[in-house]
């Protein structure tokens, strides 16, 4: 048994990549529309508990959809607070995260009879193997077998996201609302609906990612299972300079950094220190890159003009 089973590590990294990337893409839509969303973690938490419940009752497809729908509904709280009532975006996001913790405990008690977890082994998708790639040498081929189909979907999602954001009329308007809402308004486009849409997309994807984590990765709901992944998604957004393809690379880095500690056993280094790796990587990446990136110009600022519309 080698020190490092590269294939297994990369495979696990892919799973966390999926979670981080989906959530980050959601955050991308929200922030490009001008609404900073640090509630991603909380939206994801709601996705885990609702997704697990959905999957137990009606199977994994329903579970993922219910998780996504729940994330979207909960994100509307953030949209109402920030767009309509113009509450500070960070304050509202922090509240979303705090409230999500309580909501998840309440729902878990309701659904599973325990405030902290469900039974394990909830229904999930059959794993798939990707043809041709299994022959990649150095054990890396194993990374492309036994994958959740959702992981493949996440990879392919980059293409439509890129198209919607940079080529579609909706994407153009969304970005203009995040860069210069005044100009958007002057051109006769209402800013508020765009920002609602941006936040709702972030809620949908974060909820979906949470449901994926519960159903496909852990096969149970457990309190605290998101372990800061929503914030790591936020970090990959910063690292990726709010551009879809670079965010994908950032999510890949953080996905591997999160997956590695769970599979690697380095003699002489206590496992608790290995567990710190994703957090340290995130801090270093943020501290090293943040000065060189450019967030959307109007992100985080309330739009006061024309009654906020």
């Amino acid at each position: 048994m080698p020190l490092l089973d590269v294939g297994a590590v990369v495979a696990l990294g892919f799973q966390y990549f999926t979670i981080i990337y989906l959530t980050a893409i959601g955050g991308l839509f929200s922030e490009r529309s001008g609404i900073v969303n640090i509630g991603l973690e909380g939206l994801m938490v709601v996705g885990t508990v609702m997704g697990a419940w959905g999957s137990i009752n009606w199977g994994p497809v329903a579970g993922l959809l219910i998780g996504a729908a729940a994330g979207m509904l909960f994100s509307l709280v953030h949209a109402v607070a920030t767009v309509t009532f113009r509450v500070d975006h960070i304050v509202s996001g922090v509240v979303i995260n705090v409230v999500a913790l309580g909501l998840a405990r309440f729902l878990s008690q309701l659904f599973f009879g325990s405030a902290s977890q469900s039974d394990s082994g909830i229904p999930h998708f059959d794993k798939i193997d990707i043809p041709l790639l299994e022959s990649i040498p150095f054990g890396l081929g194993r990374a492309f077998q036994n994958l959740s189909p959702i992981t493949v979907v996440a990879f392919l999602l980059a293409i439509p996201v890129l198209f919607v954001l940079s080529r579609s009329r909706f994407g153009l308007r969304l970005r203009s609302a995040g860069e210069n809402p005044e100009a958007t308004r002057t051109l006769g486009v209402r800013v508020a609906p765009l920002r609602y849409a941006g936040v709702a997309i972030s809620g949908t994807l974060a909820g979906f990612a949470g449901a994926f984590l519960a159903i496909e990765v852990n096969e149970l709901y457990q309190e605290g299972q998101t372990q800061g992944l929503g914030f790591i998604a936020l970090a990959s957004l910063i690292l990726g300079n709010w551009s879809p393809l670079r965010v994908m690379l950032g999510a890949m880095l953080f996905g591997l950094a999160t997956g590695i500690p769970l599979r690697v056993d380095i003699p002489g280094i206590p496992e608790q220190f290995v567990r710190m790796i994703p957090y340290i990587v995130t801090i270093v990446a943020i501290a090293g890159f943040v000065g060189r990136v450019q967030p959307p110009a109007a992100a985080g600022k309330a739009y006061e003009g024309a009654g906020g519309t």
């Binding site: 705090v98 309580g102 340290i280």
Partner: protein, 384 residues
């Protein structure tokens, strides 16, 4: 001029009165809204909302020992609420109180178990160790923010994750007790010289308040901390700079204030306050550091700070208010068929509505002020 003001649309009223009325209305509105939505949820469960609210109230106030329990629950929340609030006054978000007090509990354990000293020296030393540990943990994100611009919301959350693993390792290795035959992992028991004295014996209330209620001298210390924070924010130069940086960093910098230095200082103070958060648990309740060191007091502190308007008077009131709710949980579990987690839902509803209500009132006050100013300008030009 006196004749011209009669034509002004807004009667001149002292601004503090407007602010007081506005905030009172905001609180009232938020409580009503949260109470009504909460009542709907309770009714969906087939319970009577007013009965449930009365159970919460009576379980936390009926006897002296019940209210003492409320104050015990409020003690750490005052500290964590203050820690969040002082950072917020400088426009910073300390989401890392959770990790900071966990590290503080571990450094307090080092001081409590490694030294043998008389209580007058030992106990303060334990507290200082806790503060120092938490300050180091708060200092890292503060310095990173100022030096590199890394947003403290992301870095403090990551520091929380690192703290949990670090203390897990410490508990398995240097802090682990040498006692054998234990089921649970824990540190050595703390000597009496490192334990927090209880309030009840001092005031001859041992009959009314049993030993099981861990209401200690940390509660008056918490109130003292509120006063100290008030003094710092509103009566010192640093406090003035903190508020200037918080309300407008650009103008503060232009006014000759070093924004970065102020941010680092206030984050260290926030960390020092966070150091107290875990102390009632390790120094009074448990008397050792055990595996249950993640107590989510940091996240509840955010709720306390927002409920208390980030003000040193509002924070203790909000902490006691949440103490009432958490104590009421036991009542709900005993007297009703509701899950006890309903209390967390009530708490969440309350924070959401308070945040929105305060924002509405803030905008109302700004508009009112603008109208008053316009009216005065109109009056001036009419008189001229």
């Amino acid at each position: 001029m006196a004749t011209a003001t009669a034509a002004a649309p807004v009667k001149p009223r002292p601004p503090w009165l407007d602010a007081a009325v506005g905030q009172g209305l905001a609180l009232l509105g938020a409580f009503l809204f949260a109470g009504i939505v909460g009542a709907i949820i309770i009714m969906l469960y087939g319970e009577r909302p007013l009965f449930v609210y009365r159970v919460i109230w009576e379980f936390s106030t009926a006897r002296a020992s019940d209210f003492a329990k409320v104050l015990e629950l409020a003690t750490p929340l005052i500290f964590s609420g203050l820690a969040v609030a002082v950072a917020f006054k400088a426009g910073m978000f300390n989401i890392g109180v959770e990790g900071q007090y966990i590290v503080g509990m571990a450094t307090a354990t080092v001081a409590a178990t490694f030294f043998e000293l008389p209580a007058v020296i030992h106990l303060p030393l334990v507290v200082l160790f806790a503060m120092a540990g938490s300050m180091v943990w708060a200092g890292v994100p503060a310095v990173l923010k100022v030096k590199t611009g890394a947003h403290e919301v992301v870095t403090t959350i990551m520091m929380n994750g690192i703290a949990v693993s670090l203390v897990a390792w410490a508990l398995l290795n240097p802090l682990r007790t040498t006692e054998t035959g234990l089921v649970d992992l824990r540190s050595d028991r703390f000597p009496d010289s490192a334990r927090m004295p209880f309030l009840a014996p001092t005031f001859g209330l041992e009959e009314q308040i049993p030993r099981s209620v861990n209401l200690t001298w940390l509660f008056p210390v918490a109130l003292l901390a509120c006063f100290a924070v008030w003094f710092l924010l509103y009566r010192t130069r640093l406090g003035y700079e903190v508020r200037a940086v918080g309300s407008s960093p650009g103008s503060a910098e232009a006014g000759g204030i070093s924004t970065g230095a102020v941010q680092i200082k206030i984050f260290l103070i926030s960390g020092a306050l966070a150091g107290f958060v875990g102390l009632n648990h390790v120094l009074a309740d448990a008397g050792f550091l055990g595996v249950n060191y993640e107590r989510e007091l940091g996240f509840t502190g955010i709720a306390v700070a927002f409920l208390g308007r980030n003000h040193p008077v509002g924070v203790p009131l909000a902490a006691i208010m949440l103490g009432l709710l958490f104590r009421g949980e036991d009542g709900i579990a005993i007297a009703t068929d509701l899950p006890r987690e309903i209390v967390i839902i009530l708490e969440g509803l309350l924070i959401l509505s308070v945040v929105v209500a305060y924002e509405l009132v803030r905008r109302w006050l700004v508009r009112r002020q603008q109208r008053t100013v316009r009216a005065e300008e109109g009056a001036d030009s009419a008189a001229a």
